[in-house]
């Protein structure tokens, strides 16, 4: 089963929670594009064995040494990391664009409408109009 499909069945956004490990450059560019588009943090495992968590806000796939830029989660400033130094990408953070606010608003509106209808009914009943 493809990992994306598995993630959907778990009720999560498409990329959240997925891990991609690269033994070579194949697939790396595609996953970095997805990580760049992703509105959550990712965790990068680098060639030297270190890990860095942060938000990828830019990528430069052209040129002799393609690189990404990210805001590290726990420190100020930015970091630039070469594609060639990345051995794994994990979509660790919540996808903040996974639209929850609209659904919440719709639910709230319906609740407010129900409450208003009930209040109107009670007032009409008290006046003897029902």
């Amino acid at each position: 089963m493809p990992q994306e499909q598995q993630a959907h069945e778990l009720g999560r956004p498409q990329w959240e929670g997925l891990v991609f490990r690269f033994k070579n450059q194949i697939g790396l560019f595609e996953v970095i594009e997805a990580a760049f588009d992703y509105r959550g943090d990712v965790s990068l495992e680098l060639k030297d064995g270190s890990r860095i968590d942060g938000y990828i806000f830019n990528r430069e796939p052209q040129g002799a040494e393609p690189y990404i830029q990210l805001f590290p989660k726990d420190e100020a400033g930015t970091k630039a990391i070469k594609y060639a130094d990345i051995v794994a990408i994990e979509f660790t953070g919540e996808d903040t664009a996974f639209g929850k606010s609209w659904a919440a608003w719709v639910a709230k509106s319906e609740a407010l409408r129900t409450a208003e209808a009930e209040r109107t009914r009670a007032e009409a009943e008290a006046r003897g109009d029902l």
Partner: protein, 338 residues
């Protein structure tokens, strides 16, 4: 005429200077996003969905002023996020006004009335209040009840203190033209200087994906709204852009016209798409492949008729031919002119 003469003169001379220099890729309005944090989560907004540590980051006043100087546009629009959340916003605005930039401080107005004391009325400063319709439509659009009434109160307070105030309105599928016309009446009755309108852009990251306007629907909607315009309606934007929205003229996008600077850098290619970032304005202009963007060139631009790409096209057109210039002048004074 909604825009003060001094501002119109500044913009006109700026555009003419660029044309005389043969500068094709000149900016008209800097879109300065000093933070992404907002106190609303509007259904049609794809600007604020970021991790908490990103939302905590802000541009400093010095970064804002440097961007304005580097870009050189005569107008600076400050959207966000909600700019009034930024604790240094009064200082940022002061610095921009000192640089004689015409600043449009875009706000949902939730904090506006209580923050007015921190600002000084000036011909260079306009509060551009987000209003997406009458009470019912606006509160639904911003996903919170009571916001319309707060904004109306803030507009009245700002006008009473002598501030310039405009409204900015984004329209989505399902907008009722008659209600929108009543909304225009209501805003002009409040005494705002002018109104800005635009169709919403179909942000991939916005919560509500069902109500973005397709191109033909945009033209139908705006034609229904803007035909037989009332005399007291004033729009703080190019008359030719309004004709474009009504389907009366066609433009290609000018994505460099309203360049965007935020905590990530200079955004490629425009305020709406995020196709990467440049470190400097010069790099943005010189290394972006502009031919990849615009109607018919990029599927993400297919339905876009948003002001940040097409109003610069309309302004450029105004100064490109005598007929377009006279048409602009005519529409400015006689909005329903044939």
């Amino acid at each position: 005429m909604a825009i003060p003469l001094s501002q119109a003169f500044t913009v006109a001379t700026y555009v003419l200077r660029q044309k005389l220099r043969g500068n094709k890729h000149y900016p008209l309005v800097l879109m300065l996003e000093p933070l992404f944090r907002c106190n609303l989560a509007c259904a049609g907004c794809g600007k604020i969905q970021y991790p908490e540590h990103v939302l905590k980051r802000r541009l400093t006043p010095e970064e804002c002023w440097a961007a304005a100087e580097e870009c050189g546009a005569p107008i600076v629009s400050v959207p966000g996020g909600e700019p009034l959340i930024h604790p240094e916003m009064p200082e940022i605005v002061r610095g921009l006004v000192e640089r004689k930039k015409y600043v449009y401080l875009c706000t949902n107005a939730l904090l506006m009335e209580r923050k007015l004391d921190e600002y000084t009325p000036s011909k260079y400063l306009t509060f551009s209040v987000h209003m997406d319709g009458l009470r019912e439509e606006h509160d639904i659009a911003v996903c919170r009840g009571g916001v319309y009434d707060i904004a109306v109160g803030a507009i009245k307070a700002a006008l009473a203190r002598g501030f310039r105030v405009t409204t900015n309105t984004t329209l989505f599928e399902g907008a009722n033209p008659e209600r929108v016309r009543k909304f225009f009446d209501a805003m002009m009755d409040l005494g705002v200087e002018g109104m800005m309108i635009s169709p919403g852009y179909s942000y991939q990251k916005a919560p509500d994906q069902e109500h973005f306007l397709r191109r033909n629907r945009t033209k139908e909607l705006f034609a229904a709204i803007l035909t037989d315009r009332k005399k007291h309606w004033d729009f703080n934007q190019s008359p030719l852009f309004l004709e474009f929205l009504m389907g009366k003229r066609d433009y290609q996008c000018t994505p460099w016209g309203n360049p965007t600077y935020n905590i990530f850098g200079w955004q490629r290619p425009c305020y709406l798409l995020q196709d990467g970032y440049a470190a400097t304005f010069k790099e943005l202009i010189e290394t972006t492949d502009w031919d990849r963007y615009g109607t018919g060139r990029n599927e993400q631009c297919a339905d876009c008729m948003v002001h940040c790409g097409y109003e610069p096209s309309a302004v450029h057109d105004t100064f490109s031919s005598w007929s377009a210039f006279t048409r602009t002048a005519k529409l400015t004074f006689v909005p329903n002119a044939r």
